[in-house]
């Protein structure tokens, strides 16, 4: 499944309520849980935390891409969270992160996982899109911006 097919209002939350990194990871995983995308909240959160402990996925320009593989999912899962005021995510440029793309994949689907991460990386290079996403009013607008329809 292409990344764009995974983008629905149910997996988008704006604004995020969290104020720090541990809470935002929990809140992003909760989006998946609330959307019925995962059953085992703790297992998913644990692998995401483990990956972040090895090195922050907070990139530059307010973009963060927490990701991990786990047998707790059988296909790619995406959650999008937006924090217009920014959250300290230990990012590369030390700036607060505003756009969070959480990606969780099954261990035997590295190919689609890598391709989806690559698509997210391309999105992160579009300054205009990132700005528009941060200024979106609601989940529907985020979906509309990403799908360009």
């Amino acid at each position: 499944m292409a990344l764009i097919d995974m983008v629905t209002e149910e997996i988008v939350k704006i604004p995020l309520e969290s104020k720090d990194k541990p809470d935002v990871l929990r809140e992003l995983v909760q989006i998946l849980k609330d959307a019925g995308q995962i059953d085992d909240f703790d297992a998913v959160l644990e692998v995401i935390r483990e990956r972040e402990d090895k090195g922050s996925t907070g990139l530059e320009k307010g973009f963060a891409v927490p990701h991990a593989k786990t047998p707790a999912v059988c296909s790619l899962k995406l959650a999008i969270g937006i924090a217009p005021d920014g959250i300290d995510f230990d990012s590369l440029d030390k700036q607060p992160s505003k756009l969070f793309f959480l990606l969780v994949a099954a261990p035997d689907q590295s190919g689609p996982h890598v391709e989806a991460l690559s698509e997210i990386a391309k999105l992160s290079r579009s300054n205009a899109l990132c700005k528009a996403l941060v200024n979106a009013d609601n989940a529907a607008e985020v979906v509309e911006l990403l799908k360009g329809e």
Partner: protein
């Protein structure tokens, strides 16, 4: 008139859509007598990009590459089994690099008449960022391309193949 399709290549990437494409390609090869190749590309280009973007750690890149090598063997073996079950001969090939470029290169090198790929995103986006690798390959290969849809119908067709 010579056979219009002598050599078919099906691109397999581990998605359900690509397995459906493989089932269709097996049927097509059985009906047409064309030679069939299953092709998988380990997307090392994307992994290099992810490392450069700092989304991947070096250890992570190595781990994912090993996983993808294993995935390549597993999926190509699965497609091979699907073909063998129907008495269709199939060659398995794989490479590493930029997926769409590797597909174009393989189509040229193998003199492929028809590239078979799985269903593309149903949602059209104006965002170029969302064009996936199969779509890029479709746009760039010199041969005809067949996009396989309707997995239920394809499964029935595959099952009915004696």
């Amino acid at each position: 008139m010579s056979k219009p399709i002598k050599k078919i290549m099906v691109y397999v990437d581990g998605t359900e859509q690509s397995v459906t494409a493989a089932q269709y390609a097996i049927c097509l090869a059985a009906f047409s007598g064309a030679e069939l190749i299953a092709y998988y590309v380990v997307n090392t280009r994307a992994m290099e990009d992810l490392l450069r973007a700092r989304i991947f750690l070096k250890d992570e890149q190595v781990e994912y590459e090993q996983d993808m090598e294993s995935d390549a063997d597993r999926y190509l073996n699965h497609v091979n089994e699907l073909a063998v079950q129907k008495g269709v001969s199939i060659s398995r090939k794989r490479s590493k690099g930029s997926v769409h470029k590797e597909i174009v290169s393989a189509v040229n090198d193998e003199e492929i008449d028809l590239l078979v790929i799985g269903e593309l995103s149903r949602i059209r986006s104006r965002r170029d960022e969302f064009y996936d690798e199969a779509e890029r390959a479709m746009r760039n290969v010199p041969c005809s391309v067949l996009i396989v849809k309707d997995d239920d119908r394809v499964w029935e067709m595959y099952q009915s193949l004696s």
